[in-house]
């Protein structure tokens, strides 16, 4: 499924890299530990987190993730957005808490990547 479709279906607000939503999502990974995401997420994954500081952009671009969804209506810091725009990492905001959001993602066919 493409990122654009998920944005529409889950009513996500896109905060950065609006021109880079045409990407195929390969699966999802949820974690608030950056090392964990670095170690276990896969290229093209969608990352679900509540971290809003700028280092999330570095991690996402290091792993070539498709994008980051912030949960609970958490807004990214302004430095985060700046960096995300520069490195073309889409950051999206959802009103839903992690559990609900992942449930919805799963029902839309975005599943985890087994180790």
């Amino acid at each position: 499924m493409k990122l654009t479709e998920l944005v529409q279906k889950l009513n996500l607000s896109v905060r950065s890299a609006k021109a880079h939503l045409d990407r195929e999502v390969t699966g999802g990974y949820a974690s608030d530990l950056l090392s964990d995401v670095l170690a276990n997420s896969k290229e093209g994954n969608l990352w679900i987190t509540l971290q809003i500081h700028q280092n999330i952009v570095g991690v996402a671009s290091m792993k070539d993730l498709a994008g980051i969804i912030l949960v609970n209506s958490r807004e990214p810091e302004s430095e985060t957005l700046e960096k995300a725009e520069k490195q073309k990492v889409p950051i999206m905001v959802s009103e839903m808490p992690t559990f609900e959001l992942i449930g919805m993602l799963y029902s839309l066919g975005v599943v985890g990547t087994k180790q």
Binding site: E5, L34, S35, L38, A39, H53, Q54, V59, M62
Partner: protein
């Protein structure tokens, strides 16, 4: 690039791209019994210029903004869409090359085509001239980037041109301690550089992840240090050094989950005690030496041949 090249590139693309690549998948439909006066609201609210007319699950016609204007200009009474729609609907198959769509637009002068699946004739989308143009532009942009990457790919051959018993490239990065704002910058530069050298993406990823973790350790726990990356034809060696405070118990530090990070660092999602393990997982060989009060030296090797073979990340 001369203009003629561009044209042939587009000509090539219209055969390569399928209608399904450019069409809009979300299709609004109306019933033949909906009234023309309601159509205006539907077109305006959904920002569309035409929509298929569906009756009992079957495609019976198409109604467009042109039909609506005609109806308006004739000052006719309000009537169901069924009376004004175009009944003989021209469709495109989702798997047809774009060139067929372009020809059909020219042939019929229509503003849009309904797209159906070849096997079951199921409605899957709608395509306008605007979608065709947008699709082509996007594809051109993507191809342009690909061409750039191919150019970069040749740099690794540089090694083959150098006549010597031993050849190496050396890059050094200085990392400031406690500078979370610039965290990850060195690793990201390493990644870009190695990619430009044309190394296998799997190797680049391993080096980048391991370097990122090492860089974070410098930032979280030390006053700063330096990262040295040495590229040789068969392997990459990374050496990370700082001047203190040093690790009291190296064996403990290597245990997964063991961490001395302060609470505020953990809240940022760092300091989970997984960094050194991540490095170990990415590297073919890792070495960690530390003296309290003097400093720490971390080094790791990543083989260019094995790195490309084993998919770990």
């Amino acid at each position: 690039m001369v203009p003629d090249d561009k044209i042939s590139k587009i000509q090539e693309l219209v055969y390569e791209i399928r209608v399904s690549d450019v069409m809009k998948r979300e299709v609004f439909t109306v019933s033949p019994r909906t009234h023309m006066s309601v159509l205006r609201v539907i077109l305006r609210e959904n920002r569309i210029s035409g929509t298929p007319v569906i009756d009992k699950g079957k495609l019976v016609g198409i109604i467009s903004i042109e039909d609506f204007i005609k109806w308006l200009a004739n000052r006719e009474k309000d009537c169901p869409i069924g009376e004004k729609m175009t009944r003989r609907v021209q469709t495109l198959y989702a798997d047809e090359p774009l060139t067929h769509a372009i020809n059909k637009f020219e042939q019929h002068g229509f503003g849009r085509f309904i797209v159906v699946e070849r096997q079951d004739k199921r409605l899957v989308g709608i395509v306008t001239k605007g979608d065709v143009i947008e699709g082509l532009l996007k594809k051109l942009e993507i191809d342009y980037y690909k061409e750039e990457e191919v150019c970069q790919y040749r740099v690794m051959h540089f090694f083959e041109d150098i006549l010597a018993d031993r050849t190496e490239l050396l890059f050094q990065y200085d990392v400031m301690g406690h500078d979370f704002k610039r965290a990850g910058e060195s690793a990201s530069q390493v990644k870009t550089t190695l990619r430009r050298l044309g190394l296998h993406p799997q190797v680049v990823r391993r080096v980048a992840i391991a370097t990122y973790e090492a860089e974070m350790n410098l930032i979280i726990y030390t006053d700063g240090g330096k990262i040295c990356v040495r590229v040789e034809p068969h392997e990459i060696f990374v050496n990370v050094e700082d001047s203190g405070p040093g690790i009291p118990d190296v064996q403990k530090a290597l245990q997964p989950g063991y961490s001395t990070a302060p609470e505020w660092v953990r809240e940022l999602g760092f300091g989970a005690g997984m960094g050194l393990n991540n490095i170990q997982k990415c590297a073919n060989k890792m070495d960690l030496r530390s003296t309290v009060g003097k400093g720490t030296q971390l080094s790791f090797y990543i083989s260019i041949e094995d790195g490309a073979k084993n998919e770990i990340n």
